[in-house]
Symmetry: C2
């Protein structure tokens, strides 16, 4: 799984666990909703400081966004 | 420890373990030596794809660059 997809699936996974819409998440993080959507689809290349804002809004450490096993498990469930 | 410093200390730590100079590491990763130096000092804000190039050149997964405990331990040893 490509690194940007790995991050994207983890953001989707954590947002889904928290039952937060993309729109509310955009407000929480102060990041544009379209940009969030692009991160989730793995088409954006966020910087470390943007990742930190995303992680803070999700209440996790940045390292959690790089959890490959959880990203794969979540994407497998979603794509079934 | 600020997120960019955490990454910086981990890059220094892994580069030191491999006994690779900044110059050789720049060649390995294809990233400018001045930029590498800035990442190590925590003054750059690298994107995910740049972090991946750095991690690949160090032979680790990107998530290793976010290991806070190891960054802190290494910085404590260096600053003593």
């Amino acid at each position: 799984m490509e690194i940007r997809e790995r991050i994207g699936w983890n953001v989707r996974r954590l947002r889904a666990e928290r039952e937060v819409t993309q729109e509310d998440f955009a407000t929480d993080s102060g990041i544009d909703r379209g940009y969030i959507s692009g991160v989730e689809r793995g088409v954006r290349n966020p910087s470390v400081l943007v990742l930190e804002r995303i992680a803070n809004a999700l209440g996790v450490d940045v390292s959690v966004l790089f959890d490959e096993a959880k990203a794969k498990a979540f994407s497998a469930r979603r794509q079934r």
